[in-house]
Symmetry: C2
Subunit: 331 residues, 2 copies
DNA sequence: AATGTTTCCGCAAACGTTTGCGATAGAATT
DNA sequence: AATTCTATCGCAAACGTTTGCGGAAACATT
């Protein structure tokens, strides 16, 4: 096992002190140009790279961000991560990705590890079962900023970056009105999730304003359940100009299975519209019209908020990212 | 910013030396049971956790694995990561995930970072443009085992865990023969990729043995290209008992778009079969029959290989994971 | 009572940096 | 010629651990 080159080695070869080498490498004004040149050349040759553990031990700063997500099999998180990584690179931070598996215990361990590694900051989408926020506040006490995104806690005074659930639901509802749809089947997710409540409230609100539209809302907690509901309910909707709204990708997947099974054609037999990050909707023909929730945008917003926190802003803020309608041909 | 508790603080409160506290915490036989009890209790109370930077600086070991993948939006890698994380937890290793974005330069930086962090080991699926393997060999010199998976280099003497491309292609071909298909359109990926060559060779080999089957092979490098090819070629196949084989999810997505566009019914109008991790095939009705390449299996195999390496095995090995046919109803 | 064994614990060095401070030389100022 | 600057550099402490070694009791053996 070959050893890494250290300041000490460079110092010995050049007959200098360790401190001089260290300063030369960071372009400290105390060091003469000639010495700097010599040191830099040898460092280059020996492929010197500072030992991050020693640096951190000394300086208490790690120049790395942590991103914690419940799951990775998700286009939305993937594009969020992409956005963060892009920006982080510009500021020469590196990013490490953690996966909580939607398990509060694992999440807690990850947090602890982040604390001890003294990461520079944490971006986190909490698990569905996360109830305590003290651990997060504790991180702030330790000087590690926490930016919540997507799945955020109820707690008020913390930094949250969310997709605009109300806004997404509203542009979907508007589109339904525009198309002159008279019958709507809305399939929503788990009743207890705040995302469900927000999307459903706004959606029903807008469509109820228009007395000519007939709405039926149901809940499904899995793709299979969405499929079963679609199979049993959609046939009743075929008589008149109608559409089904799927609140999420998971539900959309189930509904599409049913539509294929009954051999319905979009948009004539039935319209389909959803809220999505855009991956699933593009697998079908015609492509599904959807309100796009952009993980990428969210990432950009989260990063700039993070940098502000690191710069010293202790002011907590909730930022909402609005989505835009992407036309498929399904409605 | 509150400070973390250190050995020193515990030592002072208990009027002990730092070394005694350290040893007590690791249950060293030199320490009396009473002292151990006192120390452990106070450590618990103060939420002591060793500073990983100090530990690493001292011991040169980090107890963490790195997983490097080109992309995260991929069910296959996701299940690979899941498998590694499960096993790592059992051995109290933690895992950090890096994303190379299919960029050799970024990959190289990640590798450097891994080296300086002295991760305990690296699991990596290399980028399409990775040509040099010296950096990987250098890691081995530094005592960091590297296990390649999925996308592996040509280089012989290294540890590789791959899906059995030949085997997957063969069971797909067998299924085509079983179903009595006479006309086959095979859509393969980029000609230059070894995975394409392996799958195509075996596929054509088996079907050619059977003189009654008529095969046409084409290449597509994107989902859109696959769709275009499907649109133009599939109509010619409708006359007789025929099927299309999609080498990958990307191609399958394009082909399915075309099939929906032409309004064909599976399996009567045309059969569809593919090699996949299983996510995309389940979005359609009927579900697509596919040879399953399991990231999860690969992960388990990779991990046990890794542990053997850490235990000292310098013997390089290539392990092939065979896949199994998952029946949909598409052929 | 003298010696040998345990049992329990502390000293101090080391890992590789960063950084405040002091030291030395020559140059510039009186 | 005595003094003050300035430019360069080195010393040493600190970050929080781990660990070889040695030391002092307490106990057991002659």
């Amino acid at each position: 096992m070959r050893e890494n080159t250290t300041l000490k080695k460079i110092a010995e070869k050049l007959n200098l002190s360790i401190s001089t080498v260290s300063r030369a490498l960071k372009n400290h004004p105390d060091i003469s140009p000639e010495t700097k040149k010599k040191v830099n050349e040898l460092a280059e040759l020996l492929e010197y790279d500072p030992n991050p553990y020693a640096v951190n031990l000394r300086t208490h700063s790690s120049k790395e961000f942590a991103i914690v997500v419940p799951s990775l099999s998700n286009f939305f998180y993937h594009s969020f991560i992409t956005a963060i990584e892009e920006d982080a690179r510009d500021y020469s931070y590196s990013v490490i990705i953690y996966r909580s598996s939607n398990d509060a215990k694992i999440e807690h361990e990850i947090l602890k590890s982040c604390r001890h590694k003294r990461v520079s900051g944490i971006f986190i989408a909490i698990t569905a079962e996360t109830t305590e926020i003290e651990p997060f506040l504790k991180l702030d006490v330790h000087g590690i900023p926490v930016i919540f995104f997507d799945k955020v806690p109820e707690y008020e005074s913390c930094n949250k970056i969310c997709v605009g659930d109300e806004h997404a639901a509203s542009i979907v509802a508007e589109e339904i009105l525009n198309k002159g749809i008279k019958n709507v089947l809305g399939i929503f997710g788990d009743k207890n999730m705040s995302i469900t409540q927000a999307r459903m409230k706004k959606f029903n609100e807008i469509l109820s304003d228009n007395s000519q539209v007939n709405i039926k809302s149901v809940h499904a907690t899995s793709s299979e359940e969405a499929e079963a509901l679609s199979l049993s309910l959609i046939p009743d909707f075929l008589a008149k100009k109608s559409a089904v709204f799927c609140m999420s990708d998971e539900i959309l997947a189930g509904t599409m299975k049913a539509i294929q099974k009954i051999k319905l054609k979009m948009p004539d037999d039935i319209g389909v519209i959803s809220i999505s990050d855009g991956m699933i909707p593009k697998l079908f023909y015609p492509e599904i019209t959807y309100a796009e929730t952009s993980g990428y945008n969210l990432g950009k917003l989260a990063f700039s908020r993070m940098m502000r926190c690191i710069a010293g802003s202790s002011f907590a803020q909730t930022i909402i990212d609005e989505s835009k309608l992407v036309q498929g041909g399904s409605i």
